[in-house]
Symmetry: C2
Subunit: 549 residues, 2 copies
Amino acid sequence: MRIAMAQLNPTIGALEKNLRNVITHYQEGLEKKADLVVFSELALTGYPPRDLLNYKGFLDKERALIEDELIPLTAQSGVPIIIGANHRQNNRLYNAALFLEKGTIKSIHLKTLLPYFDVFDETRYYTSSPGGQVEMLGNLPVAITICEDIWNDMSYFNNPLYDTNPLEKLSAQGPRLIINLSASPYHYGKHTLREDMLPFLAQKYDSAILYLNQVGANDELVFDGSSLVYNNRGELLYRGPVDREELFLVETADLFTPAELTVSPDRDSIETVKTILEMGTRDYFAKTGFKKAVLGLSGGIDSAVVAALAANALGPENVLGIIMPSPYSSRHSKEDALELAKNLGIKSRVISINEPFNTFIKLLNDQKNPVMDLAEENLQARLRGLILMQISNREGHLALVTGNKSELAVGYSTLYGDMAGGLAILSDVRKMMVYELAHHINKLHGKAVIPESIIQKAPSAELRPDQKDEDSLPPYKFLDPILELYLEKNYSPSEIIAEGHDEETVKRVIKMVDTAEYKRRQAAIGLRISPYSFGAGRRAPVARGFEHY
Amino acid sequence: MRIAMAQLNPTIGALEKNLRNVITHYQEGLEKKADLVVFSELALTGYPPRDLLNYKGFLDKERALIEDELIPLTAQSGVPIIIGANHRQNNRLYNAALFLEKGTIKSIHLKTLLPYFDVFDETRYYTSSPGGQVEMLGNLPVAITICEDIWNDMSYFNNPLYDTNPLEKLSAQGPRLIINLSASPYHYGKHTLREDMLPFLAQKYDSAILYLNQVGANDELVFDGSSLVYNNRGELLYRGPVDREELFLVETADLFTPAELTVSPDRDSIETVKTILEMGTRDYFAKTGFKKAVLGLSGGIDSAVVAALAANALGPENVLGIIMPSPYSSRHSKEDALELAKNLGIKSRVISINEPFNTFIKLLNDQKNPVMDLAEENLQARLRGLILMQISNREGHLALVTGNKSELAVGYSTLYGDMAGGLAILSDVRKMMVYELAHHINKLHGKAVIPESIIQKAPSAELRPDQKDEDSLPPYKFLDPILELYLEKNYSPSEIIAEGHDEETVKRVIKMVDTAEYKRRQAAIGLRISPYSFGAGRRAPVARGFEHY
């Protein structure tokens, strides 16, 4: 038997467009003599559909498209489909896999484990199923499962999140193949985890595994494809691409014989992070209907890396860098920024903020001269934001935010200033990783497209003379590990100190993180690459006590 | 037996401060000869603590304060406490009520129904309890319940959200009194619902009910107190204040005799909305450490109502209105705004945006003259935002956003312009209700503190000559009902049209709402008064298909 697996990139809510894409790949499967074509979780709505699920008309339309357009195809061709879709039953909504065969819905497989942590909200919308049945594909017993349902093995995980394990229940019915329809967004470490856990399951249950993931970005979430095929020995036979759609074929005979050639395991790398950020950028533009990006080029490393990633994602001809020097810009920033633009082949303009800065000083300062306070630092950042937004509005460019996660975490950024824009490419990338990206980009180019002087200079906001980030913040090599423990690993302050970090620094950093929540509440959408980003997965109070614990 | 109920206003995460307040009210209970003192849901962390619950140290500290400070008090005085708190058991977290007596935790009552809709996220953090036991208070059997656990009566609700009803289970043990620890945020309609459902339960179970709610605002959520006491006939004996803390006493003997005097039922009114908005404002300032507010006064009704509410909430001496005329401001706007400021007794300044506007036109327009495009409209709004933020940063005022829900819904607002600020008082108040508030405020003052000319003029952004909102939007009397159906009642577009609304208008409005999501993603925190606001309870995609359904 030949199974075609379609790793696709749906757009949230674009039911008809996604259906067309499903049908195109179904037909490709037919041409390639597939006996079954499989699509991933919620393939027509895209994942995550979020509050669109609250609309009856939306669910009605999804079901109508399945009944009127997909199901008839299975009657014509005789080739069945497995597809992730919403399913209503007894006034409850389920996240389901539909098995479509010969013009009917032959069976329905409902999701049991509904993730509710981090960016996941499935309990808001779905009811948990008590469990399902193994399905026969010819004489092959198959467990058709959805995403989380295979991620609660009690012997693999030390502290399983849920009290039940649907796969364990299904295994009592002796499946030889596990098909898993997923929509699993990337964060670093996830590749390693997947490719460790899945072969464990294959061996434990003596089952082959077809793991089919969504690919492409929806807002902050970047789905990394990388669909996987394991034989029943847990040998990896195939891995799908990270950043594009693909229909791949699996011969079931190959799933139960020792592999002649196996794929080496993937380990998370800076190259994957770069690919994810570029795909996230490309898809956000494509799915919101933008072609061109504008960003401020400060001569610093963050805007340099954003420009390089955007140039690669959108094409350098679609990226416009605005260089906006002020009286406090360092001598080299403008030259460095111009060199960067030239190296990347992007367009650039120089617009000094001196005049509007002076106008505002005269308008708002009693003594008509700069007083060099924090308000004036913010003013400079906001004048730059205003210029970018004016160009964005007038020329139809989407403005990119260039700030990194470290500065967003501690609030070292200006609301409506450098935080202004539609997409923040680095807002989940800590500063030390921004350096890694810069080195990696230069290595890939075989030359310093990001000028060495940009990489070497001490980080500075350049909002007052000789300002350095380290005047206000701990050095990033100390700051970043504290942020990782506090934000991504949920260490309490006392636990971070117990790890050997300086007590004063830890307390200072955490106070900064907690008090900056009001800024992040108004931050642009930022591509997620970590287990805990400042996005939909963060639910933090703004007005709060700042006691230590 | 005399029960003291403490309706308190905790600050999220301020464990020690909240504990001090709990102890103060416990002591007040002792002075008033109470035999039991009751506190509401999650009384020490405040509700909702959100991701603070991910920190072990936070939970450790909460429990330590209970064990080291609260429990010993019950040994000294002999008077027990019922208090909402987090409880860990077998590696799982529960939302619990602790019964503290004679120096120990006598019993623990765990929440079963974990709300996960709208602004609620309890399934992210908590495990659901299978159910508990009735507790004896002397010889009175009492069901100690937490918030949602009494809100799933299968005969009261047509379509109950959950499959189980914990109160029904407990009722098998014959309780005569239901104590409910709540943290229930306001939205309009909720008072009416509460005071309809609770007497129904009292009668159904022949039980008295002590319903104890949190009061005060935490970010967008405004908890409206209004704690309620019903006798076993469902007669209302007491209602707590909407907008302040209170310790009230209940004699259990009164709970099982016909009432001599009952309290009339409360119906939601515009006065309640005004009170909620003022409390929300007052608490956001108090809990973030601000005293003073700055806002732009345009001469329009939105900023007038915000100024009036802020003046009442913070004191007029703490409110500063900035009047920022442009070449396109109407003749009367400045005079109207000045009259408003005078009437309210707030401070005001006039800062024209002509100069910075001209500076930017010269800087960014090739022909050095205004071209009157959308970018220049946004520019004006952003210059005003920049001025407000400069004053905010320099003088320590929190900037108020003045936009209403109708314009935020359809994206008739400028990011980093009129959307700039820390708190949006009206962002969940539709335009027609803004008028209601204006009339109500004038009625309360017995004179037009909001000048009639402000109320009467046609709504306008005044960003180009003779501009009117109706040039770009349907009249608010048509727009607002469509928004209510689409946003608050989850009607699909086709269902809204079926209600008799003009098809073209509905499609146009919904397209505007859907495409404006990117702006709302960066909007300020807005006080919630409706069943569905643009806040933590909204999970809507930005990049999405805009198909009709």
